[in-house]
Symmetry: C2
Subunit: 292 residues, 2 copies
């Protein structure tokens, strides 16, 4: 056993790496979303496809997945009862799960203390202060993930309908969104009924873009989201906390807007979630990986 596979699976895509026994990445691949709690079947498919891609990228398509242990950090693993089912459907020699926040923390901070906020399609907050972990969010799109791209997008579509109904003022942003649905509210609603979080999240950059230009609806949405992120950061930080890493696609947009106390401890992440999954996987599987 000279290899391991590591995965970072979220609401937007699934990234896989084939690593050697010292953690060197030999091959990589990216496929579609792998959220185990909203779409376990799709997650399994994208995981296997990503594994196949990583082996091919490493020039080792000859390796059999049945011989390789896998460490998976998956969105939704913290709230899912499907992990055992999923493990049974995956072809790897051993399959260990963690959630995407844990691998992101490890990747960003290594073994140091600090806090991460993952602000992407979903949102989750995790801090480590010695042996004590503090956690908030990560509950998914329906009743959680405030501040995430998916929730910002959903809120924008809701405000667009409220504006259409003259319950809220219209703005250039709500007009722009309505025009994307041919000014037919029923089309917007039909889109929303069938859409997964990642589809809503595609609207999030637009919210920030219009807020930047002073759009009233965009500004109110961003203000509400930033207030939530500040409140969540307050819940997971501690007096004397010196390190905060913002991760995920919306990180640069939030970095300039969060409260000064948090901006003051912002650090660049040491590595990404996939590198965190490799680190954690090496610890778990080290006894069975041949060190060279």
């Amino acid at each position: 056993m000279d290899f391991m596979l590591a995965f970072d699976g979220g609401g937007t895509n699934c990234r896989a790496a084939l690593a050697g026994p010292d953690g060197t990445i030999l091959g990589r691949a990216t496929t579609g979303p792998a959220n185990i709690s909203t779409d376990p079947a799709g997650a399994a498919q994208n995981i296997v496809e990503a594994a196949r891609g990583a082996l091919a990228d490493a020039g080792r398509a000859d390796l059999r997945m049945e011989n390789i242990p896998a460490f998976l950090g998956l969105a939704g693993a913290n709230v899912s009862s499907h992990t055992e089912d999923l493990a049974a459907h995956l072809p790897f020699r051993q399959t260990r799960f963690s959630d995407d926040a844990v691998i992101a923390l490890q990747g960003a901070l290594g073994d140091a203390d600090g806090v991460i906020a993952v602000l992407g399609t979903g949102s989750v907050y995790l801090g480590r202060n010695g042996d004590v972990f503090s956690r908030a969010g990560g509950w998914g799109f329906v009743v959680g993930d405030l501040g995430s791209g998916a929730r910002l997008g959903r809120a924008l579509l809701q405000d667009t309908l409220l504006a259409y109904d003259r319950i809220m003022p219209r703005s250039p942003l709500t007009r722009h969104v309505m025009s994307q649905f041919d000014d037919e509210p029923a089309r917007l609603v039909a889109f929303a009924i069938d859409e997964k979080p990642v589809g809503f999240a595609r609207f999030a950059p637009l919210v920030f873009e219009y807020a930047e230009r002073g759009d009233m609806v965009g500004t109110a949405l961003v203000r509400g989201a930033v207030a939530h992120v500040d409140a969540a950061l307050a819940a997971v930080t501690w007096p004397g906390c010196e390190t905060l890493c913002l991760l995920g696609g919306l990180a640069p947009l939030y970095a300039q807007r969060i409260d000064a106390q948090f901006r003051g401890i912002l650090k660049t992440p040491r590595g990404d979630a996939l590198s965190g999954a490799i680190e954690l996987g090496l610890r778990v599987f080290s006894s069975s990986l041949k060190k060279e």
Copy 2:
């Protein structure tokens, strides 16, 4: 053709009536939800079952549905592209659709001017001032239906998780909800992922009940919902509007809390949505119904 069938299908149940040519109800039945946009297959099944029940209740199980025209007021019909599909799968001689707000307005006001607000599992607002209809809401659970039972319930579950995460203060209400999920947030999340609007709406009475006792979270949720209902009513009423009927399961709870200007024009509805569906159906089918 001496009979017609009328239906009032919403997120909670589907009510059917067999009516004679003068609108007299000969039999009634109630089955499960019939929301055409969130669950068209389930809607079709519950509609047919309700029809069968109404025929049996009238002691006319001998009648064949293929010989009876049907007028259906269905939640989601305003945003659905499934009405033609559904009509093709229903056994009635003729099938005409309206949405649930239109039949509710007809039932509550007859041909008079005024406004209705349906505040049940979903929410929708409809006004008629002469030939002019004003409409708001009714866009469904995901990006609409503010003030509805489903949205109140969803917001309660969200606040319960925020309180669990110490992002918001806990209250007797959030503790009560957590205890219903064995104090396991993952169970709450698993419930929310798979749940339909009606399941969320079951939590709504609890929100009002705790608000009544001064619970901080319940009070804030009710205040927000009432503010939305007031804003929606402002959008669909007009100067001099003299009639407002609140309908749906939450109507009595909102009636005492909406703004004084709206409380001042509250009237008791003349009839229910099902009677509205019969009235509208009689107009549509009158030429083919034998008057006695």
